[in-house]
Symmetry: C2
Subunit: 193 residues, 2 copies
DNA sequence: CGTCTATTTGAATGTACTCAAAAGCGGTGG
DNA sequence: CCACCGCTTTTGAGTACATTCAAATAGACG
């Protein structure tokens, strides 16, 4: 079943009846995306909150100069999407792209609203989800403020050991807030150790 | 009543019965703090989630070299505190300090747990609170990744027009991720325009 | 007025970026 | 199987952005 993985995650935080679980499961649109496909493009209101079943996606922002900035890498078990656009239905500024062939679940905005209306119990799940995500974002901000690029790279490697094997280095550089050229120089320097 | 302000904020997102409102209100410990006092210190599990009624507090992190990094400025109507420490009851790494004489409300961790247990309706309030906070943190990360110090400062001024009047510049520099000296130079340059 | 802290200034330094070019690497078609 | 193409990664030189350190100035408070 395509919703097995997400139900596991939900069950860690709240306990569902069979009815609730099956209603919840019924809301998702399963989708297979190939590498480099973009389930969500920028400019229009985001339609889906995305759960990753397998593979890896990233959400990123393109600035006025045309430089990409990676907001998030989302591997199996993670949610991703453009939250401001999804919640307020304003034009999105983050694009989402598959870094590998991936299986994802799409939760349409109206379905999420209905879900929370019908079974308020899920408020708790999303409260905890956002709370944990907030904590991660805070720690990323602290990192960016206090650590040099080399340390941020080392921390990144520790936190996401497998990602480097299939995510192009230029995207990792972007996530870290440095240029690909400079990341390359950091890596050369670290090789010598 | 000391909880008037926070009830207003809560009522924007959920509708409370009188009983719910009065139970909610009863959980808070009102406290007046003077400038530079610290309702929460680092090193021990954080006891309170803090709501600011009036004045201004900041939460900040001190790194190994002894440099402070401001995580957040919290003015009237905002929540603040060390979220990882509060939720998981692990030793805190963020300190909280009053930047002006302030009136705050303390919500003890056990009270918050009881509240969500007894009236799950509040899950929705905190879900929306964390969701909005998450959006703000994402936009700060994007800013830090894509904009130079001067632009970050200008954005900060637009977003928090009044803060500069009573927050020492060195803390604003810290929030922006630059040294006080460099902020001073940015300001001199902007004066000439 | 004196003390303490915040802010400014300037020179020297370090960190990271830009630009241009070369090298590497994966896929595709002949 | 090899040659070519497009894209990623590496290299190096020059430059820009931001820090460090030391010292001077300014402001707040008793």
């Amino acid at each position: 079943m395509t919703t097995t993985k997400i139900l596991e995650s939900v069950n860690k935080h709240i306990t569902l009846t069979e009815e609730e679980a099956s209603y919840f499961s019924s809301l998702f649109l399963p989708l297979k995306v190939k590498q480099n496909e973009m389930p969500e493009k920028i400019g229009e209101p985001t339609r889906y909150f995305i759960h990753v079943n397998s593979g890896c996606l990233m959400s990123y922002f393109t600035d006025q100069e045309g430089n990409d900035h990676v907001m998030q890498f989302a591997t199996a078990g993670w949610w991703t999407g453009d939250l401001p656009s999804f919640t307020q239905q304003i034009p999105s500024i983050h694009a989402t792209r598959a870094l590998t062939d991936s299986e994802i679940l799409l939760l349409p905005k109206p379905s999420m609203d209905q879900l929370l209306e019908k079974y308020p119990k899920f408020e708790r799940y999303f409260r905890i989800l956002f709370q944990n995500s907030l904590i991660n974002h805070q720690s990323r901000i602290i990192q960016n403020l206090s650590a040099k690029a080399e340390d941020r790279y080392l921390t990144f490697q520790k936190k996401y050991p497998s990602l480097e094997q299939y995510v192009p280095l230029k995207y990792i550089a972007s996530y870290l807030g440095i240029t690909p050229e400079f990341l390359s120089k950091i890596r050369r320097k670290l090789m010598g150790k």
